[in-house]
Symmetry: C2
Subunit: 250 residues, 2 copies
């Protein structure tokens, strides 16, 4: 009875969990593992591919296969929208504060523009018209970790810092509040999928790894959607936290 591919996955995964292979260390080479398990290198390679797609291991051509460091950056959805959180986070809002609290160095690149949004977005915003979009690339201590694109109806954003590169203290939501459309209620929908080519390249992940796609809708006190934001994050680097009261006010 040959040793199956799944057994090799389980065996290596267990060896990592138990500490026999330390994070940062290099696994035995594929031909070596093939000999150890008594299988061909193809079979070992397939097993390592699965572990790579989980983010447990990072095979590198010419170097070897290294065990990845721990997992998760926590994204706390409720806390991000707290006023206090935003104002302590420096000029760019929640992402900065979030990462600094974890001892990481946040950095963002913003691209601002106008145009017609994807149809799914324009349906929710209701206005048939154009939007201001803010496309952000976000880094933690130099490593790319998140993509986010915000859409705000052009009629709201025009003439305010929302349409500028720097939205000022407190970020986008504080500017919406200045305009009398401060968001009072948020919804997020979380999905998991494989990244497209652009996302995979930016996040430095493989096409068979997984990303969260998070769609947030911010509504003002009149119930109008004033911003839609789509986030893309690698699932093996992030965990998502939510908090809400038992009986939400309507």
């Amino acid at each position: 009875m040959p040793v199956s591919y799944g057994q090799i996955v389980a065996s290596i995964r267990e060896a990592i969990a138990s500490g026999r292979y330390q994070p940062g260390s290099t696994l035995p080479a594929e031909p070596e593992l093939a000999a150890e398990f008594g299988v061909s290198r193809s079979t070992v390679n397939r097993a390592l591919s699965l572990l790579r797609s989980e983010g447990l291991v990072r095979p590198q051509q010419g170097r070897g296969t290294v065990v990845t460091y721990g997992p998760a950056i926590r994204r706390d959805a409720a806390a991000r929208q707290q006023r206090g959180m935003r104002e302590h986070g420096g000029s760019r809002g929640a992402f900065d504060a979030e990462l600094r609290r974890l001892g990481l160095e946040p950095r963002s690149e913003v691209e601002v523009g106008r145009g017609s949004p994807p149809s799914a977005v324009s349906e929710v915003l209701g206005t048939g018209g154009d939007v201001v979009f803010r496309r952000r690339k976000m880094y933690a201590s130099g490593e790319p970790v998140q993509l986010a694109t915000s859409y705000v109806p052009l009629a709201l954003a025009e003439g305010s810092p929302i349409a500028e590169r720097d939205t000022g203290p407190g970020g986008l939501y504080s500017r919406l509040a200045d305009l009398g459309h401060g968001p009072v209620r948020f919804t997020e929908v979380v999905q998991v999928r494989t990244p497209d080519d652009d996302e995979a390249e930016f996040l430095q992940i493989d096409p068979d790894q997984r990303v969260y796609e998070i769609t947030r809708i911010a509504r003002d006190s009149a119930g109008r959607a004033v911003e839609i934001c789509m986030h893309v994050l690698a699932t093996h680097r992030w965990e998502l936290a939510y908090e809400w009261p038992a009986e939400s006010p309507t």
Copy 2:
């Protein structure tokens, strides 16, 4: 230049998205696709494996590879804990109402017991002692879709319907309210990982597909954790929805 595995994935994915391959229909056989793309069957098989791990396609030995029906059952975390939702949902709480609204037939199997919880759970509950656990297997129109295990401190649950198979109208949270420990605040943490063998078998998914692992903590008005519940759901069948107010009361 050989046609690469990634191109085949992209090509088939696109053919499905564009409707050239309809949900429920069967793809051309692997040897046929191999001829079409000019590659070996191994390469086609690998490409289909990836599409299978995404849940886009379901290869079946002896039958063929069928295109999967649409994706998502929505799990609305905030709405689940609304009193009105619970009471309209029949006897077993939120899950039933959730699925009925989607036109699916809910069914649950519950196993109730006492014992010492996993260490991570007992840390949060604070009490070093035992718990009542409620392990549920949940089905939608006969198909297994969710695993959930609740932990409630034994001191709280003892002598109440919480420790029985049927928790009565409104479910577990209504019984906690009866005891003066009705939850007023919820937190959930979402992670994505591969299923263990038991989960894969119950959910009828492959070991390289992905599940959400959701950890919910329910707290009473004193801030005490009165229940911890862990959910396991296949990522390709569910999307998660959250809703919360801008300035949450402390």
